[in-house]
Point group: C2
Chain length 110, copies 2
């Protein structure tokens, strides 16, 4: 998950993900969309694969890549926890319950 977020933080890799989001594409075809060298793209693909964001399938001499939907879903779920404040409140409530304290749960505004 850590790896997935880091992988997404690079603009080239994001563009790669965009390219292979809907269709499989061989490494060479992917590379031809970028100003950098083909090995550079190959390394990016390795990063994305390790992060679980793409799948690799071999077809003859070619290697076909495609966005891994499950990986994206996991990343999405992970990020949801960040902008979902209620989870924090839930956690706080559980901890408060440990001390058997009763608190008024008004909205605080500051």
């Amino acid at each position: 998950m850590e790896a997935a977020l880091k992988a997404m933080s690079d603009p080239t890799r994001r563009e790669i993900l965009r390219l292979v989001q809907n269709e499989e594409m061989p490494a060479g075809a992917i590379a031809s969309n970028f100003p950098v060298s083909r090995p550079a793209i190959s390394q990016h693909l390795a990063v994305l694969k390790t992060a679980g964001l793409i799948d690799e399938r071999r077809s003859g001499a070619k290697r076909l890549y495609r966005t891994r939907v499950a990986g994206m879903a996991e990343l999405k779920a992970f990020l949801e926890m960040f902008w979902d404040v209620r989870l924090e409140r839930l956690k706080a409530a559980v901890e408060a319950e440990n001390e058997k304290e009763e608190t008024s749960d008004d909205d605080e505004q500051n």
Copy 2:
């Protein structure tokens, strides 16, 4: 946006965001939660602020930080475009509309 994603890719900064998600907190108090030095946290705060992910408010000698909800929302919206394939199709449909004038505005399901 680029900056926001990059900022989120660091675990320390993610933890900072978590800390100040619900409440304002002075820089020193934030730093006390981490094993690294206070200046290090100060630099992380600067990165988060530049990325638009936190707000800074000065209160006397203290500087209070808090997660910037708008910034998080923008990041979230940006990421939605990645795992929402239908947007790509919508875009393609709009472009097709430039040449054709046939618009059926039903729900598309795929």
